[in-house]
């Protein structure tokens, strides 16, 4: 039975671990810190699996208040848990990846002086993420939402001496705050029109709200639901790094690799996808918002993929791939194929965490060299990293049979069937994206593991495979990267999600495919004959041809298409634009308001001006106080005459 104490234990065990590792790090020592943190997350994971069983097999669900946070008038804001299929799946994904990352960290951060602090942060992250996915209301959702942002800030800037790290974490926080700005306004809109922040109450009112209009610019009536949903989605754009709020994610790679896997690939960045899915009862009533979501997702999926082609930092290639895959998930949401989006979220969490941790394993072997031009031929030195990396890459490009194939194919098919505005462009983007994904993934893979050995051996020591604390998580993540796709029958075409996802009949693009779905083998067979498969294969082949057989071609392409290359290298100019216009502009406005507004006008003219006027008046008055008797006598006579004139005449 699902009880409050069970759910509280799941959420609070990592928090307790975090507090002990963080505040008592010195007392418990390194081993104590990682033991207590891993124990906390381990308990969470085990109990989350139990919760998933209760939901999926026994058909239970849960929605209860834990305590009342605040009451204002008739409005009650609460902290509470809601657990249904969507939540249970997220809980398992989050705690599983987190547990793997915790174990991996023992090896990766072994010699770091901030060892206990790191464990404290990643456990705190797990707590925050669980609060986010288990929330039963918007207030707590926002708490979790910002709390994961805080931990992301702390972890990107974990190596606080690195100027690039503390630049990146400030940038990440501020860009996320731009998203949260929209998100908070969306929540305020929800409260105004639904009169509550409780999910169930709000969703029940969604059909009524859908008919209402509001006027933001006088004269134009906008659909309330479209305004609210787009505002909420702006929050998702920040957290899930959709164009143009994607700029923080590549820079977040400044943080240690385990958190790139956990936070900036597998879990936190998918919070936006989760949120929109959770809000499906609202988004369904606004085709405008869905179109907006679809187009933003498509732009991200395609254009961020291009950037992955020219990066040479192993983590940045994977980071751009994450951006592109998040775009795929967003496209699925826009096409109302929420189940497919969340399914891709799950498979992606496994294989992307695997790829990042694999990249970390390579980075350890390379003595913290991250440039793939200085790697190559690592296959024979690092067999486990190699094979798990191959599995991850095949899953990423959607090779039939691997997890990513099932989830990505169902997204592509869903977009194909969708007929809302923008779906044509989105279909084009996700199909071309398959080729791009295969190209950059295997460019990376070949350059790291095959070909000539281009690395510096650091005095004759050959690179070697990482220790078991690193390789065991790789293996454990490789397993679901293969088999998680087999759940497609239940999760995408079945009724696993049940009532936790709401789709209007006219948007139900997955229903049609569900009718034609006849088991995994049929799906794979169908996939082998479809366009995306051949695009993926040609992507891999192109990568092999360009980077293994004719390595001089990329350089010549770069020469030939310099302008294009420059555009890609500058990441379409987003960073420069933000730096000049937003950062520079704000400082300029601040200087003007301060120096002119505060100092010259208010202080200079008004305040000190008043003081000067008083000073001037008193200097004039001083002449009156001359001390000469005849001056005073004259003044008195003048006064008497004036009074007489006034009263008598």
């Amino acid at each position: 039975m699902m009880t409050q104490s069970l759910l509280l234990t799941i959420a609070l065990a990592p928090l307790l671990g975090s507090i002990i590792a963080g505040l008592l790090g010195k007392q418990v020592g390194k081993v104590g810190a990682h033991r207590v943190a891993i124990a906390g997350v381990g308990i969470s994971f085990a109990l989350s699996v139990w919760v998933l069983k209760l939901v999926a097999i026994d058909g239970e669900s849960y929605n209860q208040q834990v305590y009342q946070w605040l009451q204002a008038g008739s409005l009650s804001l609460e902290v509470g848990f809601m657990v249904d299929a969507l939540t249970a799946m997220m809980m398992v994904v989050v705690t599983f990846v987190s547990l793997m990352v915790h174990i991996y960290t023992i090896g990766y951060m072994h010699d770091d002086e901030g060892y206990a602090r790191f464990f404290s942060y990643i456990s705190l992250f797990t707590f925050s993420m669980l609060m986010l996915v288990m929330a039963n209301n918007f207030m707590q959702l926002f708490f979790g939402w910002e709390a994961v942002g805080l931990v992301s800030y702390l972890l990107i800037g974990f190596w606080y001496k690195k100027p690039t790290a503390i630049y990146a974490n400030l940038k990440a926080f501020l860009v996320n705050r731009v998203g949260d700005f929209g998100f908070l306004l969306g929540i305020a809109g929800v409260l105004m029109y639904a009169g509550s922040l409780d999910y169930v109450e709000v969703f029940a009112q969604a059909p009524t709200i859908a008919g209402q209009t509001m006027s933001i610019f006088s004269g134009y009536d906008w659909s309330v639901m479209s305004v609210i949903c787009i505002l909420l989605f702006i929050g998702a754009m920040g957290k899930s790094a959709q164009v143009p709020l994607h700029v923080w994610l590549p820079d977040s790679m400044e943080g240690p690799t385990p958190i790139s896997a956990l936070i900036h690939a597998a879990t936190m960045v998918t919070a936006g996808i989760f949120m929109v899915t959770r809000m499906s009862p609202m988004f369904e009533f606004s085709e405008t918002a869905l179109s907006f979501v679809l187009v933003i997702g498509a732009i991200t999926a395609l254009f961020m993929g291009f950037l992955g082609l020219i990066q040479n930092d192993i983590k940045r290639v994977v980071a751009y791939s994450t951006l592109s895959q998040l775009g795929y998930m967003t496209v699925a949401l826009g096409a109302s194929a929420y189940a497919a989006g969340v399914f891709h979220l799950m498979t992606h969490a496994f294989f992307k965490a695997l790829l990042f941790l694999g990249a970390g394993s390579v980075i350890i072997a390379m003595h913290h060299e991250q440039d793939i031009r200085k790697m190559g031929g690592l296959k024979k030195y690092m067999p486990i990293t190699y094979w798990t990396g191959l599995i991850g890459s095949l899953a990423l490009i959607g090779f039939p049979g691997f997890a990513g194939f099932f989830s990505k194919d169902s997204i592509i098919e869903a977009v194909h069937a969708s007929d809302i505005a923008g779906s044509g462009f989105a279909y084009f983007s996700v199909v071309i994206g398959v080729f791009i994904t295969a190209l950059y993934s295997f460019r990376l893979f070949f350059m790291v593991f095959h070909g000539k050995e281009r690395f510096d051996t650091h005095g004759g020591h050959a690179p070697h495979e990482s220790p078991a604390v690193v390789t065991v998580p790789l293996i454990l993540l490789a397993i679901p990267s293969v088999i998680a796709g087999f759940l497609i029958g239940n999760m995408v075409f079945g009724d696993f999600f049940g009532s936790s996802i709401f789709v209007l009949p006219q948007h139900d693009v997955l229903a049609h495919h569900a009718e034609n779905y006849h088991g995994i083998m049929g799906f794979v067979w169908h996939g082998l004959q479809a366009l995306p498969f051949w695009l993926a294969i040609s992507g891999v082949a192109t990568a092999y041809y360009l980077y293994m057989m004719k390595p001089d071609i990329p350089a010549r392409l770069q020469q030939r298409f310099q302008l294009l290359y420059r555009v890609l290298e500058n990441k379409y100019g987003f960073d420069d634009f933000n730096q000049k216009v937003f950062a520079g502009g704000s400082r300029f406005i601040g200087q003007m308001l301060w120096r002119v507004g505060d100092r010259v006008i208010i202080d200079g003219a008004v305040v000190n001006g008043t003081a000067r006027m008083v000073g001037l008046a008193s200097r004039l008055m001083r002449h009156v106080q001359s001390g000469y008797l005849y001056h005073y006598a004259f003044a008195m006579i003048l006064g008497v005459l004036l009074l007489l004139t006034f009263f008598v005449a």
Partner: protein, 503 residues
């Protein structure tokens, strides 16, 4: 049992008389510090007694004390508290304890006088929140400034005279109008009781004059844009304890005055002028947010941040009329006023903590220039933890008290007008930008210079001071219900008052 015990008088006069006692004991008395601490802690305990004995079900004044003071003019020693004054009194008592601890080692000359000034100021400020007679209020309202001027003027920085005079002229300018308004109301109401003032009928013209008199007096204290420029100067010159009290309590007297006088006495004028006050509040949030971004002095930055945060207080108070106009249900208006109150209390703790953090750095490095710092985390890791925590609270992170008030006011503002919420919510970006950019330049990075390399981490005294503030900021953020609970009845009553026309 203690129904007739004059608890409020005790809380007011214990620190005043105690302060005088500390003062009279001479300046080299080693007992000055522990005695001051004892007095401030006892006052805090007595103030918590108010909370325990407080009846949350009524808006009527509680712990009422009434005695004739100047009977020929019918001026009374008339005290009482409701849900608005109670949290502010506890905040005052708590802040004084912190200030005493903060000045423990730092104030080396005239220690007794320093401690005495804060104790006397504590009693006077609590009296401001408890006074129900207009003249009594006015006397305390003016008297509490004297110790504050002395604190800045004696223990302040090099430019303290300019700052003190600027502060004095600004507030004097406001007080004159306040006195005129209070006297006029006596003429109409026939008594000096503030509660009677709230009952009288007034024409719109009378209300408008009174409204502007109150607005000028209290806007200077809040401070609202554009009468805010005294605050950065005063903060920069004030010693740490002075800054703490200035930020934590003095500004709140402005917000409290609007709540106690302007809104209930002149509701129709308040409604007619609400767009004016809302505009000034939103300018404070946005304009001051940008100004804070470019400050190079730590204290100025926090002072500007205070002004921006106080913008939420005045915004919350004055959007209620628009919310009434938009919807019949009142929960939006309750959210606005309670949010503004929470914002005042939370700001009291967070701003105090921020100024204390600056004080900790200033005591070691004797500079407030951001550029003089960098990489403080390397030598002061514990301090850095607190600094980042309070910075996050200042940036309104959920789970800290800084979030609660802003969240409530933004939610309510949306119900008044989309653009109010839009502009108010820019604080999410601006507040984070100026606070965390400062953190980046001061706390993070490589050790910037030799002075930073020689810093020593906070001692036990500083740890206790910062930890107790951090705990409160966290508890209010996670569980604000106990604070709003004491306000409900008073807020409902206020909203009834402002929604009934006096014409």
């Amino acid at each position: 049992m203690f129904a007739d015990f004059p608890l409020l008088s005790l809380i007011i006069w214990l620190p005043v008389i105690g302060g005088v006692g500390v003062l009279l004991n001479g300046d080299n008395n080693p007992w000055a510090r522990p005695l001051s601490l004892l007095i401030s802690v006892l006052t805090l305990l007595a103030a918590l007694g108010l909370y325990i004995g407080f009846d949350t079900t009524t808006h009527q004044m509680q712990f009422v004390e009434m005695a004739p003071w100047i009977s020929s003019y019918n001026i009374n020693y008339y005290l009482g508290i409701d849900g608005f004054s109670l949290p502010l009194i506890i905040l005052t008592a708590f802040s004084t304890v912190i200030v005493v601890i903060a000045g423990w080692q730092v104030i080396e000359h005239r220690t007794s006088q320093y401690m005495a000034a804060f104790l006397i100021m504590e009693g006077l400020m609590i009296a401001v929140f408890a006074a129900l007679d207009a003249i009594l209020f006015y006397v305390f309202f003016e008297a509490m400034l004297i110790p504050l001027f002395l604190v800045i003027g004696i223990w302040g920085g090099p430019n303290r005279v300019y700052a003190t005079i600027k502060f004095f002229l600004y507030t004097l300018f406001g007080s004159v109008f306040l006195l005129l308004a209070l006297l006029y109301l006596h003429h109409v109401a026939g008594s000096f009781s503030i509660l009677d003032y709230q009952q009288v009928s007034l024409s719109l013209q009378e209300q408008t004059w009174l409204f502007f008199a109150f607005l000028i007096a209290f806007a200077v204290k809040v401070p609202m844009w554009p009468v805010h420029t005294w605050l950065p100067d005063a903060h920069v010159e004030a010693p740490t304890g002075g800054s703490v009290i200035l930020a934590a309590i003095t500004l709140k007297i402005g917000g409290y005055g609007l709540l106690r006088f302007a809104l209930p006495i002149a509701p129709d004028a308040s409604m007619a002028m609400d767009y004016f006050v809302i505009s000034l509040s939103l300018i404070a949030v946005v304009y001051i947010g940008f100004v804070a971004l470019v400050q190079s002095d730590l204290k100025k930055l926090i002072a500007y941040s205070s002004i921006a945060h106080m913008g939420f207080v005045t915004l919350g108070f004055f959007i209620v009329f628009r919310i009434f106009a938009q919807s019949a249900t009142g929960s939006g208006a309750v959210l606005a006023v309670e949010g503004a109150m929470i914002q005042m209390i939370s700001h009291g703790f967070i701003a105090a903590a921020m100024f204390l953090c600056v004080g900790v750095l200033y005591d070691r490095m004797h500079t407030r220039e951001i550029a003089a710092y960098g990489g403080v985390v390397n030598t002061m890791p514990v301090f850095a933890g607190f600094a980042v925590f309070f910075a996050m609270a200042n940036a309104g992170l959920p789970g800290t008290s800084g979030f609660v008030g802003e969240f409530m006011v933004i939610l309510a503002a949306f119900q008044a007008n989309f653009w109010f919420a839009f502009l108010a919510a820019t604080t999410l970006i601006l507040g984070a930008a100026y606070t965390l950019w400062m953190v980046k330049r001061v706390i993070f990075g490589e050790v910037a210079n030799d002075n930073v390399a020689q810093l020593t981490d906070i001692n036990n005294r500083e740890f206790i001071m910062l930890a107790s503030l951090a705990l409160i900021v966290l508890v209010i953020g996670l569980y604000p219900a106990p604070i709003t609970e004491v306000m409900h009845a008073s807020v409902e009553h206020l909203l009834t008052q402002v929604s009934q026309s006096k014409l």
